[in-house]
């Protein structure tokens, strides 16, 4: 007893004791476990998971670098604004830029939250593993929430820190418009609230799905909905790039600004800075109400899940076919079995796996985003119409390859290994070829058909024909070096430096789009030219396809991904 006060007087020991007590608690251990699990997507082996962590950590560094790059780009804009000597122009531009600075972290955090959407709520696995353990349910739920806060907090902080230099830059002005410190504090509060709104919105959508999914069989529907949200977020990217131009409408108090979420939080920021503008105050009010509503939905979801965990997790197996899927037995057909097997497996996986569908939709949506930029720019419609389908085609090609390359239940691939047969490999790979061709050629051409019709009139048919022929040649590029049954080969992320891959991708997209749109415009000069170009492309496409199929027949399938050989990478 006499020694006790002395121990307390040693701050180091006390802190170490406290830290030890804290980190040894079941709740902290669970939080740590859940936090680590957020970096594990279930499809990566140990080597790949390590690699993926490096990619994620690298991406945080990338955000900071992006923030500096953005600041550098804005220096020129603000130097011009200061030199004009017109404070109104500066204020209008500032409104738009502030919205962008709030919108960018919102979008990033929404992406990241969607990426870990499988870990947002305790699930059946947690129920089965942690249920028999001497851990109270409340501890599991608190740990899950804490892990989510840590994960999203990490990205929210990284995004905001990277934007601080830009915020300081835009705060400086010759007219002494605002107190820099006050503005920074108001921005930090408003922007973090905006990011919290993004996290809560994704969590609310997923939470509602988790509850609905447990009551009925909405697995496929939830997969489609998550992919749709991802697609919408990707399409939002170019819209965020348009935010700087919305300063004018916002300063005029345009009523439709209420549909732009970053504007709500800009209103909140300006109110905190002391603005008396009624329009901005209204937007701030809308923002706060929406955050409260979404927060209430998330809280209610957690409470319902907490109270009815067993009932929601232990659902019986369905006894009837789901309404959206006819569970058919094989039908008589002349199509070779090997083709049907791989084709059916590929389609079923793309339809049901959240990860694969998400990658497919997310990356394809990048094409829609790029197309949106082109269509909202000042480029003439006929020219845009000849470019947009190829942007979609390129994005769909990258998406299809990435989605098919990611494994599902990698250790289940033994069935493909023990049944590997060179006599059937051609048919198996022909199924891959078919899926890719339909997605990379069919989807973009069909999606762009209305645009082509509006822009080119009756020439749209010819243009569509040429585009489809170009697509057939492009498929060869998508399937270059491909020798896997979809989803059966392990995957190692970060095989190449991201910047290097992005640069090559950008250059390839630019080259493909420019050459292809040039070909379409050349073909549309006359019917004869259309026919000659189409015929030439079809011959090349057919030749490449036959060459591909013949090569596949001779090459063994690949089941283990490997890091590229350094000598090969350097092309020495």
């Amino acid at each position: 007893m006499t020694n006790e006060p002395e121990v307390r007087l040693k701050p180091d020991t006390t802190f170490a004791d406290w830290r030890k007590r804290f980190t040894e608690r079941a709740e902290w251990r669970l939080t740590e476990h859940f936090f680590r699990a957020m970096f594990d997507f279930g499809f990566l082996n140990d080597l790949a998971a390590d690699s993926f962590k490096r990619v994620l950590i690298g991406s945080i560094g990338g955000f900071v670098a992006f923030g500096f790059l953005l600041t550098r780009a804005y220096m020129i804009k603000y130097a011009i604004l200061w030199n004009t000597g017109n404070p109104e122009r500066y204020r209008r531009a500032l409104l738009g830029d502030d919205m962008t600075i709030i919108g960018l972290p919102m979008l990033l955090v929404a992406f990241v939250t969607l990426l870990v959407s499988q870990s947002l709520f305790p699930d059946e696995r947690d129920f089965r593993i942690l249920g028999p353990m001497p851990v109270r349910r409340i501890v599991v739920f608190r740990a899950k929430l804490s892990a989510l806060l840590m994960f999203t907090g990490l990205f929210t902080t990284a995004a905001h820190v990277s934007l601080v230099p830009l915020m300081i830059l835009t705060s400086l002005n010759p007219w002494g418009d605002s107190n820099v410190i006050l503005r920074l504090v108001a921005w930090a509060i408003a922007s973090v609230t905006a990011s919290v709104f993004a996290i809560l919105t994704i969590t609310a959508v997923v939470g509602i799905l988790v509850l609905a999914l447990s009551r009925s069989r909405l697995q496929a529907l939830s997969t489609i909905m998550r992919s749709t949200v991802l697609g919408v977020l990707v399409v939002c990217l170019p819209l965020v790039s348009h935010l700087p131009t919305l300063g004018g409408p916002l300063s005029r108090g345009a009523p439709w600004m209420v549909l732009v979420p970053p504007a709500w939080f800009l209103g909140f920021q300006r109110v905190m800075q002391g603005s008396a503008d009624r329009g901005l105050a209204h937007l701030a009010f809308v923002g706060i109400v929406v955050v409260l509503v979404v927060g209430a939905v998330v809280a209610a979801t957690y409470i319902i899940l907490f109270n009815q965990f067993e009932r929601l997790m232990l659902r019986p197996a369905p006894m009837s076919p789901p309404w959206w899927r006819i569970n058919r037995l094989p039908l008589r057909s002349r199509v070779p079995p090997a083709f049907r097997g791989v084709f059916g497996f590929t389609v079923a996986t793309l339809t049901r796996s959240e990860l694969h569908q998400g990658v497919l939709v997310g990356l394809s949506a990048c094409g829609i985003g790029l197309a949106t930029i082109f269509l909202t720019s000042s480029i003439r419609l006929p020219i845009s119409a000849s470019i947009v389908p190829f942007l979609l085609m390129f994005a769909c090609g990258v998406a299809a390859r990435a989605a098919l390359a990611l494994p599902i239940e990698h250790r289940a691939n033994w069935i493909f290994q023990v049944t590997e047969d060179h006599a059937m490999r051609r048919e198996q790979m022909r199924a891959v070829d078919r899926v890719v061709t339909v997605y990379v050629v069919g989807v973009p051409v069909l999606a762009a058909a209305p645009l082509l019709w509006i822009a080119l009139g009756s020439d749209a048919l010819m243009a569509g024909l040429v585009m489809a022929s170009i697509g057939l040649v492009f498929v060869h590029g998508v399937l270059l070096d491909w020798r896997r049954i979809p989803f059966t080969c392990s995957y190692l992320p970060g095989k190449r430096f991201i910047g290097h891959s992005a640069l090559i991708g950008f250059a390839a997209c630019l080259l493909f789009t420019l050459i292809s749109s040039g070909l379409v415009r050349t073909a549309l000069v006359s019917v004869n030219q259309t026919l000659v170009i189409t015929a030439a492309l079809l011959i090349v496409g057919y030749w490449l396809r036959e060459r591909r199929l013949s090569a596949w027949r001779k090459t063994p399938l690949m089941f283990e991904d490997e890091f590229p050989d350094q000598m090969l990478q350097l092309q020495l």
Partner: protein
């Protein structure tokens, strides 16, 4: 007859299999017994063609399988130790996929799959994806997948784990009848009772080497000590009391 001749497998510096020789004759179930880490699964993976041996060869009916591995693979059925399946598929979809990969006609599959599912008591769960299946149900799907193409050789790696009593009895009877039809079964396990009840011969593996090969009739007719005694002698683990005592001591707070 399946014959392994001098089969070896090396992982870096570790020799998992060391010149293993055994035969699985037609009409017999060969028990392949050994403690964990003795090389049972390595042998099974080599026999089904998932890994290549570092040395030695496999022969089927007098011909080396390396001459035509694809033809050999067409003749084997395999039930792995862990039920690794594509759980996003239903049992019907999985069996259809396997049948198609094995080149079976659609008509055959349309007839065989429903009957197989009914016989294996999986028909009621046919609309559920296998993610909702228990381990035993998944094991039954694996059995169905291994049998549907009428294989000549069945390679089983701990096939009864997770199966309930009814299913175990069913598969035991099935395997006996399968072998009695002149076909071969390689049955890898560490369960003595299963080997005693099912196999005609047993090979005991220890540290990657064949430590003993016995005819099960010797045990059944009392000409040799029990299989468990032979196993304990070979593996050198005869008295487990000290270890059990240490575990109990460790449990004390």
């Amino acid at each position: 007859m399946l014959e392994a001749r001098g089969l070896s497998k090396r992982y870096g510096g570790f020799l998992a299999l060391d010149r293993v020789d055994f035969q699985v004759r037609r009409g017999e179930i060969l028990g392949y017994l050994g403690p964990n880490g003795s090389g049972k699964s390595t042998t099974v993976n080599t026999v089904v063609g998932l890994i290549d041996p570092s040395a030695g060869s496999l022969w089927l009916d007098g011909a080396p399988i390396a001459d035509d591995p694809v033809a050999y693979k067409r003749r084997i059925g395999y039930v792995p130790e862990e039920p690794h399946l594509y759980t996003h598929l239903t049992a019907i979809e999985y069996l259809t996929l396997v049948g198609r990969l094995r080149g079976q006609s659609e008509q055959t599959l349309a007839t065989k799959i429903p009957e197989m599912l009914q016989l294996l008591l999986l028909w009621e769960s046919r609309y559920a994806t296998m993610a909702a299946y228990s381990k035993g149900m998944r094991q039954r799907v694996l059995f169905a997948a291994a049998l549907m193409h009428n294989p000549d050789l069945l390679v089983l790696d701990e096939p009864f784990s997770g199966l309930d009593v009814t299913a175990s009895l069913l598969f035991r009877t099935l395997l006996r009848m399968f072998a009695a039809g002149g076909r071969m079964v390689l049955f890898s396990t560490h369960r003595f009772d299963m080997v005693e009840k099912l196999c005609s011969r047993v090979v005991i593996l220890s540290k990657g080497r064949i430590a003993a090969e016995r005819d099960m009739a010797e045990f059944r007719e009392g000409r040799a000590e029990s299989l468990e005694d032979v196993f304990v002698q070979i593996t050198g683990q005869d008295d487990f009391t000290p270890v059990a005592r240490q575990i109990l001591d460790l449990m004390q707070p």
